[in-house]
């Protein structure tokens, strides 16, 4: 029977199934300082150990300052959380990419760059945007603190099998339309709860043409569509990405992995519970004007009139944002520009910003901030130049932080 990529990965990780409750094996577990302390404490109280310390990797990335990361943390609660992560990693034998380590950074940027994320694998982290890793053909999702403890103790999770949704995007992206515009257009179409209970697979010509970083942005924001996880079938671009990553398979293992990864894409006749289609040729740059990502329209549109939509949430959102019905999007005054977060802080994102701002200055009425997704940047050929360029344009560049 034809299978979707999700079903193939699910079946390959199914340890046991009973009364609709499935035990799924977890290949990679990423932890950070905010959602892990109680999980480690739970293990200690129950006298349990970490079953596979070598499959868990830790990085402090949530509750840390974005300036002067080489200095001791001045906020006592943040300092305690980071120190607790260090102690827990030491006690349970877990690898930590600490502040100052060139491999550290936002957990969802670090994982793929180190080759920890791999096609066909299951990846979890106590953070909803873990869905990012699905860009590489893995099944990746966020979990709660009790589940972090569950994975540490058993290397598995209890799950109810989710439904499947196919989002098919055809057409060509114009120069000013990015993968983030595509995912916002999808959210605008299906709503912020449109993906509830589903794992979404993104497919079609437009998705194939995206870079790995673009696919990461797409899968990252799957959470904003209410879905559990998003994924893109691995292809030659994916395989090329993992060649020679520090922890990706080497030699014979590379060949074996490659032949297994090539079998992952959904079978041509596989059935999804829900199918959604989008034509990328119709998508213009998207602007979210309200208080949730479903309140979105394109750059040439106007703010909607609540009178015509009958949604009390829209009236409240417009009041909060200080916007009025029928105002043109291009007439909205900008206060702040932020470039960062686990959605858009990768080196490729910064490179396109650098190209855009070259020879221009930040307007004196606008505050601009850039928070790169990881520290490795300084070591990359050519990267120093454009970071300097960003700095000289009046934008405030800060150290790494997950937001």
């Amino acid at each position: 029977m034809p299978k979707t990529m999700f079903e193939k990965i699910w079946n390959l990780h199914l340890v046991h199934e009973q009364d609709g409750n499935s035990i799924i094996y977890i290949d990679r577990h990423l932890v950070h300082e905010v959602t892990s302390p109680q999980a480690f404490e739970g293990l200690r109280l129950a006298g349990r150990r970490v079953l596979h310390p070598e499959a868990t990797f830790a990085v402090p990335d949530h509750n840390i300052p974005t300036v002067n990361q080489d200095q001791p943390i001045s906020d006592p609660i943040s300092a305690l959380q980071v120190e607790t992560l260090r102690q827990n990693c030491k006690e349970f034998g877990i690898t930590l990419f600490d502040l100052g380590d060139e491999r550290s950074g936002i957990v969802h940027v670090m994982g793929p760059e180190q080759g920890l994320t791999l096609p066909g694998s299951t990846i979890v982290c106590g953070d909803s945007h873990t869905a990012t890793h699905g860009a590489f053909g893995s099944l990746a999702f966020g979990i709660g603190t009790s589940e972090v403890e569950h994975v540490l103790a058993t290397q598995t999770l209890q799950q109810k099998k989710p439904k499947t949704m196919l989002v098919q995007v055809e057409g060509v992206l114009s120069e000013t339309v990015t993968p983030k515009d595509i995912i916002l257009a999808i959210i605008g179409k299906i709503g912020i709860a449109g993906g509830s209970g589903c794992v979404i697979e993104y497919a079609g010509e437009t998705i194939r043409s995206m870079t790995m970083e673009g696919r990461m942005t797409l899968c990252n924001m799957t959470i904003e569509a209410g879905a559990r996880a998003g994924m893109v079938a691995p292809d030659e671009k994916t395989f090329e990405y993992f060649k020679n990553k520090p922890m990706s398979p080497k030699g014979d293992n590379w060949e074996k992995a490659l032949s297994s990864w090539k079998k992952l894409p959904s079978d041509p006749d596989a059935e999804f519970d829900i199918t959604v289609k989008l034509n990328a040729n119709d998508v213009l740059p998207q602007v979210t004007w309200g208080t949730n990502p479903g309140m979105v329209t394109d750059i040439n549109s106007k703010i909607p009139d609540p009178e015509n939509i009958q949604n009390p949430g829209i009236t409240r959102a417009l009041e909060y944002m200080g916007l009025v019905a029928d105002q043109a999007i291009t007439d909205i005054h900008l206060d702040r520009v932020f470039i960062g977060s686990c959605t858009n802080s990768r080196i490729e994102d910064l490179r396109s910003v650098a190209e855009f701002v070259k020879g221009r200055q930040v307007n004196e009425h606008v505050s601009a901030m850039i928070v790169p997704g990881r520290v490795l940047k300084q070591k990359r050929k050519g990267s120093v130049v454009f970071l300097k360029l960003l700095g000289s344009n009046g934008a405030l560049k800060q150290d790494v932080l997950c937001v």
Partner: protein, 207 residues
């Protein structure tokens, strides 16, 4: 996780409806790095008359001398609504409660109780009212909650049955939290690993 079988305990008749998790454990106490030690902050805003929590409010029912050492919380409809914070059952448990009786619980809170070994018993509203009356009228009244029989009995002769799904009942009776439940299948996890190590060796760093 501690097993729950049969419990006879001092019962606090806490007659309030729609008690949300921020009332159970206010947000300012969520910054801790432990899951223990939340008991002193339980119902903070009602239990203390100062923000620091040093002066106890003698008019709050939990502070009455007759309810000290209580293990059963008898409470009003829709208990545990609001934020999903797992700190709420952690605080109730740390204080000493092992069982909560109400006519309705919020979904997430109900599941979080089970994950932490607290028995949340749902009775009919009129049954809860009958228990309120009896417990308030009789100092030292011990209710008996029998999980195997699925009953709540009082010294005055009230005996009420409650429903519980078999998975939750087994977990509580055996003292199995979700980890405990999964570890029953440890041999299957090992079988899986043996197979996966030969088929997907690149995923195992210890090979």
């Amino acid at each position: 996780m501690e097993a729950f079988n049969t419990l006879s305990g001092i019962t606090v008749p806490f007659d309030k409806i729609n008690v949300d998790t921020d009332q159970i454990i206010p947000k300012q106490f969520l910054k801790k790095i432990e899951r223990t030690g939340f008991g002193i902050h339980l119902f903070h805003d009602w239990r203390y008359i100062d923000d620091e929590g040093t002066k106890s409010n003698s008019e709050f029912i939990l502070n009455y001398p007759r309810y000290q050492g209580s293990q059963i919380l008898l409470t009003g409809d829709n208990f545990g609504c609001g934020s999903s914070r797992e700190h709420a059952p952690w605080a109730l448990q740390d204080y000493g409660f092992k069982c909560i009786i109400s006519s309705r619980f919020a979904d997430i809170f109900f599941n979080n109780c089970r994950k932490n070994g607290i028995l949340a018993v749902v009775l009919q509203a009129e049954e809860v009212q009958a228990l309120f009356k009896e417990v308030e009228a009789n100092e030292g009244c011990l209710l008996t909650v029998d999980l195997p029989q699925q009953t709540v009995c009082s010294p005055g002769g009230n005996k009420f049955s409650f429903e519980i799904d078999s998975f939750a009942k087994d977990c509580l009776l055996e003292g199995l939290d979700d980890i405990g439940w999964t570890l029953q299948f440890e041999d299957k996890i090992q079988d899986y690993e043996r197979q996966a190590r030969s088929q997907k060796p690149w995923l195992f760093f210890d090979l």
